[in-house]
């Protein structure tokens, strides 16, 4: 496939693997966190880990949009769908995130007791506006989730709805911010105070950075002395970024570098940023699954657009709900533990029956390892060649 296959080329990958192996120092270990679920997915799906030297370890970060959604937020959406009878629209993976009482939006769609949620999967916020126009007598709520990538389309939809005078459309805003989460991880006791989790650098977000640019990372690269390399979501992008990180570490640099120059600039997409700031403002605090309350890490709809804010419109209050006590999603999202370290991984918690959010999306660390890599947990090895 044109324009994409070039970034998945096995021959180029071999060359890069050799180059990385030549550059790493055998006297030390390297730990890099790939922040985004998109990177986690690419690493698992293409088997990037198999091409890295043994002393380079990738730590999966919290950048999976559905993984960081706390139970309480899903419960809010659930209440809207089941108790208020709205048409609830949201992006695909969100349907499977576990909520309270063993429920999920997917289960609410099928029916809970004598109630049945009208819950629809959409590909774009344009689809939601269409649903609202086609159902003028119903209330339509978009359950908006995601990082800076999915925020501008939500802002555009709200602006469009205001221009059209759509009265039956509102947004349950759960948009979160990347830089705040990275800072929070660096401040976490395991990484900061105790130093039990060594992070030598970050593979920085791809799509998020197309919007916010590389500038927002400069501050903490300098402050925390951690190199950041912004990388695309294709496997060669990830490998090239790892090579750049190894170099920075070896040379004692801690800079923001941009591997994803084909899409990301230092300033990002100014038009999108303006649109977002017209519609949204910072929330003083937001609960992330795994990270807990993180100050100024999420967005809410500005007061002037209150009619489009489902939280205000339906007087919703947030009730925090603790995760299943056996679930290690929190530690996994902070990079402190690996999926295999969790007692319920692959036993009680599977993609069919996810207990924690990391098992929900294929971008989540647990689901990625379960789906693509769990054969590594068993001693069975196959080295038969397939004859072409």
């Amino acid at each position: 496939m044109k324009y994409v296959d070039e970034f998945r080329d096995g021959e180029v990958a071999k060359g890069l693997a050799v180059a990385i192996a030549a550059e790493v120092k055998s006297s030390r270990n390297y730990s890099f966190m790939e922040f985004c679920g998109g990177h986690t997915h690419a690493i698992s799906r293409y088997g990037v880990g198999d091409l890295l030297p043994a002393n380079v370890r990738m730590v999966h970060g919290p950048g999976c949009p559905v993984c960081v959604l706390p139970i309480g937020r899903i419960d809010m959406a659930m209440r809207l769908a089941l108790d208020r009878g709205v048409i609830l629209c949201t992006y695909g993976d969100t349907l499977r995130v576990p909520a309270s009482g063993g429920l999920s939006l997917l289960k609410a769609k099928a029916g809970v007791g004598n109630k049945r949620g009208d819950i629809r999967m959409v590909y774009s916020t344009l689809d939601v506006l269409k649903v609202a126009r086609e159902n003028p007598l119903r209330e339509v709520v978009f359950f908006a989730i995601g990082f800076e990538t999915t925020t501008p389309p939500t802002a555009a939809a709200i602006r469009q709805a205001r221009q059209e005078g759509l009265k039956n459309f509102s947004v349950l805003c759960s948009h979160v911010l990347t830089p705040a989460a990275i800072t929070h991880i660096l401040e976490s006791p395991e990484v900061g105070r105790y130093g039990t989790v060594l992070l030598d650098g970050f593979v920085g977000p791809a799509h998020v950075s197309t919007v916010i640019g590389t500038r927002p990372y400069e501050n903490f690269a300098e402050q925390y002395r951690k190199p950041v390399v912004i990388a695309g979501f294709e496997p060669l992008d990830v490998m090239q970024a790892i090579r750049m990180l190894v170099r920075q570490v070896n040379e004692g640099r801690a800079e923001v570098e941009n591997e994803f120059t084909r899409a990301v600039t230092r300033d990002g997409n100014l038009k999108a940023q303006t649109l977002v700031s017209e519609v949204f403002e910072l929330r003083s605090s937001f609960e992330w699954r795994g990270l807990g309350e993180v100050p100024y890490s999420a967005l809410q709809i500005r007061a002037g657009l209150a009619e489009f804010d489902a939280e205000r419109r339906y007087h919703l209050t947030y009730v925090a709900v603790p995760d299943n006590s056996a679930c290690e999603c929190g530690a996994i999202l902070r990079g402190v533990k690996k999926p295999q370290d969790c007692k319920i991984f692959g036993t009680v918690c599977t993609p069919e029956n996810p207990m924690g959010s990391c098992m929900v999306s294929s971008e989540g660390a647990c689901a990625a390892h379960y789906t693509y890599g769990r054969y590594k947990d068993f001693p069975v090895e196959v080295e038969q060649e397939v004859r072409a």
């Binding site: 071999k14 985004c36 293409y46 088997g47 990037v48 949009p65 695909g92 069975v380």
Partner: protein, 349 residues
């Protein structure tokens, strides 16, 4: 003399007419629908018996029976429609057991208000597909449900075929060392449907691969090769089919990603929608597991057939108590090709 004509009924209006509740009520309207549409399209001596069941001649050999419900939306898609799909799907389920498909029973659930013209198109398409495949639709049933209780037309077909002496195909017969073949490029049907649903248009539209595979299968059986398993990777795609076989046979598999044929346009559409072509449905492709020594011979036989031109050897069977289907990625790494969990939902970011 009176002008009354005996048993006169105005012919069905295939231009403007619609299915109404009377077409399923067992009265004259239903009789008319059966006679003017179904009996006329499927015409054969068994249907002409006009009974509730068809009496069929005895057949030499073991019988194979398979049934398949068809609920596809949209009903008409590039490369086919629910009608020919309902015939092909059931023929293929019978044929992958090594059988010659002979007879089909078809039952229709029609939604009140469905245009008779569309129904005729569908039934005619079924009749053509059955005739081309040399099978007869020998009995059937029609029910009508109120508007909103179905999605246009649902068709369930049941097929019966006969397996020749000595032919033994089953999902539990894959053995370590066997080779895994596919008859052509994967994901065409599912992506033809998806791109129609999502209004994706390409320079070269994606066309469903819906086809009856018993001819191709007969040529493979005629080679005398040691064929162990045949399956048509429909819903859930290649990945699901291989996981089913691995579990049934108690073996593991190792695939070579670069050997798996996928058309560039299908790969592109999958990329857009966040789907993996290995999990996308096919309706005219074959997965074969065979003795490694016979793989080349079978690939040659497939490639000589119009439905197998892009046949390829994609992997091998090995011992694995965990029954993992693994794949060497074109990128140079290794991963599991797992069972699908839930629906294939698009990722967000």
């Amino acid at each position: 003399m009176s002008g009354v004509r005996m048993n006169y009924a105005r012919p069905l209006d295939f231009k403007q007419g619609r299915v109404d509740m009377s077409h399923g009520s067992g009265g004259r309207a239903m009789l008319q629908l059966i006679e003017e549409l179904f009996a006329a399209a499927f015409a054969n001596q068994y249907l002409a018996q006009g009974n509730d069941g068809a009496v069929l001649p005895p057949s030499a050999g073991r019988l194979v029976m398979a049934t398949d419900a068809h609920v596809v939306s949209p009903l008409f898609f590039p490369g086919g429609d629910i009608g020919c799909l309902a015939i092909h799907g059931t023929i293929n389920d019978v044929a992958v057991m090594g059988a010659q498909p002979l007879w089909i029973a078809a039952s229709f659930i029609l939604e009140e208000g469905f245009p008779l013209g569309d129904l005729k198109r569908i039934v005619d398409s079924m009749a053509v597909a059955a005739r081309e495949a040399g099978v007869a639709v020998v009995t059937g049933d029609t029910k009508v449900v109120e508007q909103g209780n179905a999605d246009g037309v649902f068709i369930t077909t049941t097929g019966v075929g006969v397996v020749a002496e000595g032919v033994l195909l089953s999902g539990d017969r894959a053995r370590p060392g066997n080779a895994i073949l596919v008859s052509g490029a994967l994901g065409d049907h599912g992506m033809a449907i998806m791109s129609k649903r999502e209004n994706l248009s390409f320079d070269a539209p994606i066309v469903s691969d819906t086809a009856a595979l018993h001819g191709l299968i007969a040529t493979l059986l005629a080679t005398g090769a040691d064929l162990r398993v045949l399956r048509d990777p429909t819903r859930g795609g290649l990945a699901t089919t291989l996981n089913e076989i691995a579990r049934q046979s108690g073996v593991g598999m190792l695939l070579e990603e670069s050997a798996i044929p996928v058309k560039p346009v299908v790969a592109a559409a999958c990329e857009f929608l966040g789907l993996d072509p290995l999990y996308v449905a096919n309706e005219g492709k074959l997965v074969a597991v065979c003795a490694a020594a016979d793989a080349e011979r079978l690939i040659a036989a497939m490639r000589a057939h119009p439905l197998g031109r892009d046949a390829a050897l994609i992997g091998t069977v090995h011992e694995d108590v965990h029954h993992f289907v693994q794949m060497k990625t074109s990128f140079g790494g290794r991963r599991i090709v797992d069972w699908l969990s839930g629906e294939q939902l698009p990722r967000i970011c």
